[in-house]
């Protein structure tokens, strides 16, 4: 596999110009993404505006790996992007990615947020936080408390099989083992105020509607709701809740990532790397924060005020790869306690 040094930009620019002169097609990059198109389009537009490289994207939800695998060596995919590290690591394990050596990427993305050999890179983070009814007298929370009988019939969250939840449960397994997690899940199931389904924003609306008092959701939805970007109605949902950044008892707040990798048979490899590098640039990281209310991965990049107001994020130190390894076990435990039924 050809590796490319990013240390001599002059040579690269020349190479890029040469490649561009050879073929107009080279100024394209093909993106396969499980990321909702509305969330990344502003970033892609900015990339095209800056580099002149056109981005062709396809949003695939289920079956991204299967499609890329079936396409094989003919696959036009250059960049594979997912909204969950489990899926991203899956792509690596299925051999659908290739290593990237880029000083830019390595400098921008902290080591625990990227794969070995540059097989994948996190681009943004979202915290799994607790939404609580505005008037509840609580200020701090641990994930371990979610099964507390105090919350009997008062807890709302989306399907236990959703990747955001299986990742959180997998993190619990890393800390406490499967047996304790099983009990924890059983307690949480007892606490459910309604069927575990829908999306994270439904949690806020259901708290407003009196169905639940606490719930679990991603941090950026709070920004989307409170900013009014989801429409005036959702401002009310966002205002009906207060947000607590929970932690594990001996750890920090569980985060998931959106991330990307260069596809193994990428026909436009240079452009693919450039897209990744762009996405961790100051401009793009700012856009992630502003447009999507996510936490930037780049150290020192600014966080949106709405999100910053939620409190200081102390990221749980458990390596994502360790959590990913427990995903299967987490999913089975969810089945075992019939969480979604």
């Amino acid at each position: 596999m050809p590796r490319m040094s990013r240390k001599r930009p002059g040579v690269l620019v020349a190479a890029a110009l040469f490649a561009a002169a050879l073929s107009a097609q080279a100024q394209e990059v093909n993106l396969y993404t499980t990321r909702e198109p509305g969330l990344i389009q502003p970033l892609l537009d900015a990339f095209t505006a800056e580099t002149g490289i056109k981005v062709n994207s396809i949003f695939v939800r289920d079956g991204l790996a299967e499609r890329v695998m079936a396409e094989g060596t003919r696959s036009p995919a250059d960049v594979l992007m997912t909204v969950d590290f489990g899926n991203l690591i899956d792509l690596v394990e299925k051999g659908l990615t290739q290593p990237v050596e880029s000083a830019v990427l390595n400098e921008a993305v902290p080591e625990h947020l990227r794969g070995k050999d540059g097989q994948w890179y996190a681009l943004s983070m979202r915290a799994r936080v607790v939404y609580a009814a505005k008037d509840l007298p609580i200020d701090s929370f641990t994930y371990e408390q979610l099964d507390d009988p105090e919350w009997r019939n008062r807890l709302c969250l989306r399907s236990g099989q959703h990747p955001y939840n299986t990742a959180m449960i997998a993190a619990h397994i890393v800390y406490h083992g499967e047996e304790a997690t099983l009990e924890w899940l059983e307690g949480m199931k007892q606490n459910l105020g309604r069927a575990a389904t829908g999306g994270d924003r439904d949690v806020a609306r259901d708290i407003m509607g009196g169905i639940c008092d606490i719930g679990v959701g991603n941090s950026y939805y709070v920004g989307l709701m409170r900013s009014g970007r989801g429409g005036p109605e959702q401002v009310k949902w966002g205002e009906a809740i207060k947000v607590i950044l929970p932690t594990f008892e001996n750890g920090g707040t569980h985060v998931n990532i959106s991330g990307a990798a260069v596809a193994r048979y990428s026909p436009n490899r240079d452009e693919a790397v450039r897209l990744l590098e762009y996405l961790v640039s100051d401009d793009a990281q700012k856009l992630y924060a502003e447009a999507n209310f996510e936490y930037p991965v780049k150290r020192g990049a600014e966080i949106d005020p709405i999100i910053a107001a939620l409190g200081d994020l102390e990221v749980d130190p458990t390596p994502l790869v360790d959590i990913a390894r427990q995903r299967d076990a987490a999913s089975r435990l969810v089945d075992r306690v019939r969480f979604d039924r």
Binding site: D62, G63, R67, R74, T197, G209, G210, D335, D340, R341
Partner: protein, 592 residues
Amino acid sequence: MRPADSSIESASIGSGAAPAAFGRPRWNPWLIAAGVVALAVAAPIVALVATASAGSEELWSHLIASVLPTAVRDTLVLLAGVGVLTALIGTGTAWLVAAHDFPGRRVVDWALLLPLAVPTYIIAYAYLDVLHPVGPLQTALRAMLGIDSPRDFRLPDIRSMTGCILVLGFVLYPYVYLTTRAMFLMQSANLIDAARTLGAGRARVFLRVALPLARPAVAIGVSLALLETLNDIGAAEFLGVRTLTVSVYTTWITRSDLPGAAQIALAMLIVVLCVVLVERWARRQRRFANDAQHPRPLARQRLRGGRGLLALAACAVPVFVGFVVPTWYLLDQTIARVRFAGVSAAIPREVLNTVTLSAVATVLAVVCALVVVYAARVGRGQAPRLLVRTASLGYAVPGTVLAIGLLPVITGIEAFVDSAASRLLGASTGLFLLGSGAAVVYAYVARFLTISAGSLEAGFSRVSPSIDAAARTLGAGAVRTLIRVHVPMLKPAIATGALLVFVDCMKELPATLLLRPLGFETLATHLYGEAVRGTYEEAAIAALLIVAVGLVPVLILTRVGARGPAEAGMTISARAAVPEQGAAAAPPDQTA
């Protein structure tokens, strides 16, 4: 053309197969063409079997211990609930409309079909919003009762089994309505008139005569509604009901166990085939019930005053719940959204993409259906009919599962053509199917061929074999007979089948999502992209357009139905994957 003997003759033959003695070559090109079509449909399922056999350790012990008991129970409860509800609504309204006259009957007669245009996943989103404690209904209710907080008073949550059954029942009942209405109108007039003459009251006529006679039609309609229920994952999952289909997804997506998912999907396919067998059994019964020699239209009884209004109300409720409320909701959301953020510039392009893909797939599905069904007509023995069944298999597999099965098939074809082209022409064809949208069309045809095939079979069964014989005696070949004689006579059947295929293609989501080209969006994928991040309101425009475009074929369908209700009914009934010609179902004057 009105061959007076058609019903009798085809009844005696029983399947509408033409006498095959007229100049048919021994080596039948129709059979080969039909074989190709059947192979194309069966290929993804074969690929699934291959995937499944890759093995998945200790999957089934986990499933049996933790998943299957509740998943099977929930699936059965859901199917039973939806079955009962669609049967009640469909049969009840059909009986009111077919056997009675009351104010507004003409309107509800076609309006009752409107929910066909609303995809189940859209109606689930709509009702969650409308019925939510902070939604319009409960807010108004609280205002009326003088209660401030939803914490003090709220209705039961719609995200439950009951909610799911209600939502699906009110959107799927038209299948029962359509088949049963046709049956009431065409089949039982004589007997019902006789019962009335003999002094039986209304209820007695319905319960003792009309209903038993219509039972097979009810069974057909219900089995169609149940297939839709089984294959629909969006609405059920959204409302918190975890059927077996959801287990397929969990196994595949969350646990990255595709072989395991394929195993569950195939196990479900067997269940679905059982449903289909029940439906076939029901149709077998129907043939038995169809002996009336000279059916006449049913004389409608007038319902006056309060009774008439009651009948109107009973028919209006399903239309309101299944169509008016969700459409009103979408309209409201769309207006609010357009004011707030304008219309996405991509929408016209997406409409065009949606219509183009659906139209191409519809034409192909009709042509393939003609080939398969005509091959069965001119062919001898069981082989051609087996091919028809095989070609109808795609509908019995959930959309995503079919798409996953199609992936290796499509890329296999691409690889073969690519290497051939490289060798012979020195040019690479690359991913010409996935890259062009042809893969999506393939998926549509494979999935919905059964609709057009069933429709054509029903149509063909009304064309007396003596007509084939006459055409062939006069020197026309098989192709000429088909094009000059059959196709003109089959226009209503072709139209009905085509319209239904078109509506289904438009609504199709999972295969479109997985198999479409880069940067290519349809209304359904746009809708999904928004819905999946919880911004349903932004999806309202796309959802409304799906309903609006879907409405056109449904409205045309109601007109086709008005010309020949039995035609429409039989066409829909043919969706159940195993076409069995109810040869004598049509009265002689329906042939042309």
